[in-house]
């Protein structure tokens, strides 16, 4: 099940590890990505801290950590193919994996219905 932030990140829990990316809405808004700056494995972030940067032809945007935690893996494939984020934002275009510090923070994120309501209002 995907969880969402109001800032257009998504998160998917598998065991105790969360995979994080930006939503289809976000990639559409940004346009063609040309560069992704990923965090270092082992880096720890507070909820809402800048964890990655995505850049399109026109603009750069920060990606926030949806919950507090430690980065356990990054999607190295994006270095050569940032366009994967546009093509498969919730699939091969994932950005990083992290181990949430507090599972309750994950439960507090938006579900798909709440996120859809947010983006259809925008």
């Amino acid at each position: 099940m995907l969880r969402f932030t109001k800032d257009h990140e998504w998160l998917r829990m598998e065991g105790n590890i969360a995979t994080v990316g930006i939503t289809p809405f976000a990639q559409e808004k940004l346009g063609d990505l040309v560069f992704v700056e990923l965090p270092n494995v082992g880096a720890a972030f507070d909820k809402g801290a800048v964890a990655a940067t995505v850049e399109s032809v026109k603009a750069a945007a920060d990606v926030y950590a949806p919950v507090a935690g430690e980065v356990t893996a990054v999607n190295e494939g994006l270095v050569e193919q940032p366009g994967l984020v546009n093509a498969e934002p919730t699939g091969d275009g994932w950005l990083f994996k992290m181990k949430p510090a507090d599972p309750a923070e994950v439960d507090a994120l938006l579900d798909e219905k709440a996120y859809d309501a947010l983006t259809s209002a925008a």
Binding site: D7, H8, E9, I22, A26, K29, L30, G31, D32, V34, F35, E37, T53, V54, E55, S56, V57, K58, A59, A60, A61, D62, V63, Y64, V79, P82, N86
Partner: protein, 382 residues
């Protein structure tokens, strides 16, 4: 992810309804609601323009007619020469020239195209500067010329290697135009001015068309399979690859034509020893700068994949604390699949091959000073 800015009260070009119908993503630009891209996206639009033909709405730009009260075009040309350093008197009928309005400090008030259309000079100026430019022209030239903004005309650009073959189907005579030629051409029964010029580095045309014919003309052009509509996003990435300046970014009131590496636009007749030497704002400063400047515009290729954006500082050495220059345009060269930028550096850092540094997100990153344009121009000179 951080949010884009909201929009305000915006003007429409005569092609606004067409943009919306074509799926344009509309954004505010210089007070207009303009398409930044269509559904295919900036990268595809960019590559399409270089491979076939792109159609751009540039109707937000100002089109201004200067008409000499005496009826002699030479009087309008001489008058205009008091505001800019180009040779306008030497501009033949049917020719266009790139130039810039300067201030007393030699800074650039706007960059523009001037064409001699026989009875009148037509100026094409930047959207964000057109109100200023009109006032500037009126306050200095009213004794000699009428200054009339052409408010009932749209401006569209057809750019790319297929542009000639496409436009020929509507007006065969356009194939006779060379780069920077201008001619009155009838398109769909409407009186248009067509120039062989553009802002992409490609061969192509800019077409001034009566507003009520703009949409039928665009529809006729878009019927050709080679033609796709192109938004402002690709317009910017194309002009950056072509090494062309954007007013407000690479040029402003504090940069001079010589610093901007636009000294080639200063006519021989307007230089020291020329037959109409000086006589333009900044004439005490600009000719002196031809012998050397303290900073100049250069091309920059960032090392690695990260784009370096406008405003990024430039350092001479990797560990220097004080910047010696600044990036004024930066983004991604879609045709080359690498980031590129332009910026200002001191002369001792301006030679191609020099390595300078910037700082992005707290990290120092090298850039190599490079020749402009990044992608060779394909203008049709003959």
């Amino acid at each position: 992810m951080s949010e884009p800015r909201p929009t305000g009260e915006l003007k429409h070009t005569p092609l606004h309804a067409l943009h919306v119908r074509l799926g344009g993503r509309m954004v505010p630009f210089a007070g207009y609601d303009m398409p930044v891209q269509y559904s295919s996206g900036i990268m595809k639009e960019h590559l399409h323009t270089r491979a076939a033909a792109g159609l751009f709405d540039v109707s937000h730009m100002g089109q201004i007619a200067l008409r000499p009260s005496s009826g002699r075009i030479a009087d309008a040309a001489r008058a205009l020469e008091t505001l800019l350093p180009a040779d306008i008197s030497g501009l033949a009928v049917g020719r266009q020239r790139y130039t810039m309005f300067t201030n007393d400090g030699g800074g650039i008030l706007d960059d523009l195209m001037v064409s001699n259309q026989g009875e009148q000079l037509i100026l094409v100026v930047n959207a964000a500067r057109k109100v200023f430019d009109e006032t500037h022209l009126r306050s200095h030239l009213s004794a000699v010329c009428t200054v009339e903004p052409l408010l009932d005309r749209a401006l569209v650009a057809l750019q790319g290697p297929a542009a000639e073959a496409v436009l020929e189907t509507l007006a065969p005579e356009v194939s006779a135009l060379r780069f920077m030629d201008v001619r009155a051409v009838t398109l769909l029964g409407a009186a248009c001015f067509v120039s062989r010029s553009g802002y992409t580095g490609e061969d192509g045309f800019e077409i001034s068309v009566p507003a009520n014919v703009a949409e039928p003309l665009c529809n006729a052009l878009l019927r050709h399979p080679a033609v796709a509509p192109i938004g402002l996003g690709a317009r910017d990435s194309l002009r950056l690859e072509a090494g062309l300046c954007l007013y407000g970014a690479d040029l402003d009131e504090t940069t001079t034509p010589v610093e901007a590496a636009l000294d080639w636009t200063i006519g021989k007749a307007r230089r020291p020893g020329g037959e109409r030497s000086g006589g333009f704002p900044g004439a005490e400063i600009i000719p002196r700068q031809l012998g050397g400047v303290t900073r100049q515009r250069v091309g920059l290729r960032p090392e690695g994949r990260a784009p370096v954006r406008a405003g990024a500082p430039l350092f001479r050495n990797e560990d220097d604390a004080a910047p010696v220059g600044v990036v004024t345009s930066g983004g991604f060269a879609v045709s080359l699949n690498v980031p590129v930028a332009m910026g200002y550096v001191p002369p001792d850092a301006a030679a191609p091959g020099t390595r300078v540094f910037t700082e992005i997100r707290g990290k120092r990153l090298g850039l190599i000073v490079s020749k402009l344009p990044f992608v060779p121009a394909r203008y049709k000179h003959r």
